[in-house]
Symmetry: C2
């Protein structure tokens, strides 16, 4: 039994976020105004987001964006996070591979989401905003933002996807304990919610619908902004602290990863762990593989299509260039609520299109098998989302074993699963199933999308 | 908003546990064989515990006991834990006091219990034991031991107090995910369980009953030992890593605590944080106050009686010199399941008797009020158990404010409450109540005890 954590000091918390767009030869296509189909400008985003976030969203030139001192100060509550050599898992798999994971589960909220929540709440506060709204899937983002909102004295309303609202009541309670208002989505409190409930009375919600509701509320309340936990460029930016720390820690370990893996919903933790490593590929031609691990039931990167689509279900957001299954795609009720999203953000979609990264899909039962192995080997119960990354890391380690070759694998443990135990219960009882979408489903959905957007 | 963590490096994980008994002028009274009423010897404990644990239990001479390298290695999974200056809470209370907390909630299991679980599992493995049993209240100890048992390849059966089994199903799932067998106590699987279920068919269990069941099973299964998460001297010993680290960290902070606070159930986290500081009082006459924070509904230190009593409900254990409410005391169903125990271990009881420490009781509603304040101020949702310590720390800070004087307060955050959110829900909904025992209840219970034990 041996254990190796690589620990940084507080002074090593990055002082700047890494903006990968500045280093991309092919920049992401612009987001478009859905009415005019013209590229949107920074100012067009001001009604929705803080000015600082809007500026970051559109910044294509500065590779490094300074982290405000107040944000770094709050990062110190739990950052830097450990990088861990997963000796236990290596032993269990009897693999020559070296497996490392960045442990973002040590945040007080249990996931990486605080990295952007603190930044977004800070900017809103700076600009005199008093109220914010957001959506949340499994509740990780909502819980993080609830704490960040409280820390900066902002009022927060969270639309929580209904299936998760019931599957994960404890995350709802966490948000309420921090003083946030939580509404199950779809709800009757918005036009978007009422419409989908009228069309599909038993619809259990999706991130796309919850975003519509949160956006709608933000537009109606005075001095209120909307915040998003994933998909957008500024969120990816804030999450790069994960990979920037991991870069230094891999150096401490004296290794460089052959492959870097993150689970993939809207892309926040994936971008966080991988972009700082992709930088070496973009700027120095470094040979490194990067893999997005997505659910087989929501396979936008492996089976979706690259095209303009809405970020939300009701069509309130700008048109985003994305790998998408269609904003009208209704994902199955898997326990990895944070990955139930129809599309990928514009940066990741461009990287994918340019062959700079890969994607792999994982079935629900395989994720729980991987999660249980990891828990028993490393003592940490992973979030169902993170378990997708673990499953792909295990695949990589098994391949290395077959080849009889060493391989250095790094994945992001984006969160712990202590509040997802009902899912583990079902798995242990044999009550969980796999969900897969058929090619026909995907094709049909995308055909409908063509009709809406063209 | 400012944040200050005091962090140690892995090399600073203590290399020896501190055995306070060696420094006590009045040693704890010996534990007695209930039949003969004669002091028990180390060998008398071998049928129940590992030899190493039995030896530690009886060691009254060595102040320092070396921590095995394999145990230190596993401690590195999460240790050293941070010491945090609670600036947020200080600001919220507008107090001149300086409040520090040792954050044991960062363990992958979410509490301090791993400190002893790893040591006990290690010793059992070393001695060729294959099966272990235990009891658990809220499930923190059971979860910790489940991981430790898996790490050392031991089979584990856990008797979980029935009220917690239902209140905290996620902790049951965590144990099962690590591969442990979990039985709600009282159960029909033991004589002790059957007896109490016959007498009180709806009894929701207590730690005392669960201990009886776990001990009974351990005596019946070949090559099986019993392990306990609190009360006993060797458990207190293992937990001293908490205070030993905190001692160094308070030095880093350039302060020395005026008062050290731990919540109190059987004494494990309390002893862990306080004994290394009490050492300065015992050996150098240092002026320091030490407070055990216990539930008003289970007030053994504030209202119990010092006398010999059983450690369990059925009377299977040796007689222990303890402050007790009587082993037949049925505590109210408060959410702080880990504090629902009738007595204090022999070391703490002797310290209490000699006036070397104090105790304070806290009502359930006050603990949740304190917990919510702490969560909003510091971003960490505390366990209901730990919230007793927080409530007393807040009292101390408020007193300091009244006096207009600085005061340095240190408390142990023994665990997080992410799995106790159902309790927070009830609190937020106004559905929680206080439970108190009357003086008559206590007197009547102790009278019965006299009849049994004399």
């Amino acid at each position: 039994m041996s254990t190796k954590k690589f620990l940084l000091e507080e002074k090593d918390i990055p002082t700047a976020w890494y903006n990968i767009v500045a280093d991309m030869k092919n920049k992401p296509l612009p987001i478009l105004n859905p009415q005019t189909k013209q590229p949107m400008k920074e100012e067009d985003l001001y009604p929705l987001f803080s000015k600082a976030a809007s500026h970051q969203e559109m910044n294509t030139t500065d590779a490094w964006i300074e982290i405000p001192e107040e944000v770094r100060e709050l990062y110190k509550v739990w950052r830097p996070t450990p990088l861990v050599r997963a000796y236990g898992l290596e032993k269990m798999l009897d693999t020559p591979a070296h497996i490392y994971f960045k442990n973002e589960s040590v945040s007080p909220i249990g996931s990486h989401k605080l990295n952007s929540a603190i930044a977004q709440a800070y900017y809103c506060k700076q600009e005199g905003v008093t109220n914010i709204t957001t959506e949340t899937g499994a509740g990780q983002w909502g819980a993080a933002l609830s704490y960040a909102a409280k820390a900066f004295g902002l009022e927060l309303a969270v639309y929580m996807v209904k299936v998760s609202y019931h599957q994960k009541p404890y995350r709802r309670s966490i948000m309420q304990t921090f003083g946030a208002q939580v509404i199950a989505s779809p709800s009757m409190s918005t036009k978007a919610g009422r419409k989908i409930l009228t069309d599909h009375p038993n619809y259990q919600g999706s991130l796309g619908t919850a975003i519509s509701e949160a956006v709608e509320l933000a537009m109606q309340v005075p001095n209120c902004k909307y915040t998003l936990g994933s998909v957008l460029n500024h969120v990816m930016l804030h999450q790069t602290v994960i990979g920037l720390e991991a870069e230094k820690q891999m150096e401490m370990a004296g290794e460089y990863p052959d492959v870097v893996i993150g689970c993939f919903g809207g892309g926040s933790n994936f971008s966080g762990i991988t972009f700082p490593f992709l930088r070496h590929k973009l700027t120095e031609g470094k040979d490194i593989r990067v893999i997005a691990a997505e659910p087989a039931s929501c396979p936008k990167l492996t089976r979706g299509q690259f095209q303009y689509d809405f970020g939300d279900e009701a069509g309130y957001t700008p048109l985003i260039p994305m790998f998408t299954l269609g904003h009208n795609f209704a994902p199955a009720n898997i326990h990895a609520g944070g990955l139930r999203y129809h599309g990928a953000g514009s940066i990741v979609s461009q990287l994918m299109k340019d062959g700079l990264m890969n994607a792999a899909d994982v079935k629900q039962l395989d994720t729980f098998k991987a999660a249980t192995m990891f828990a028993q080997a490393e003592g940490i119960i992973p979030a169902p989302e993170s378990s997708h990354a673990i499953a792909v890391a295990i695949r990589e380690a098994e391949e290395a074993k077959k080849e009889g070759k060493a391989r250095t694998i790094l994945f992001n443990l984006s969160g712990h699963g202590l509040i997802d135990m009902a899912a583990y219960d079902q798995y242990l009882a044999g009550d969980l199933t796999n969900y897969e979408v058929t090619d026909e489903d995907v094709a049909k959905n995308l055909e409908e999308l063509e009709k809406i957007i063209g």
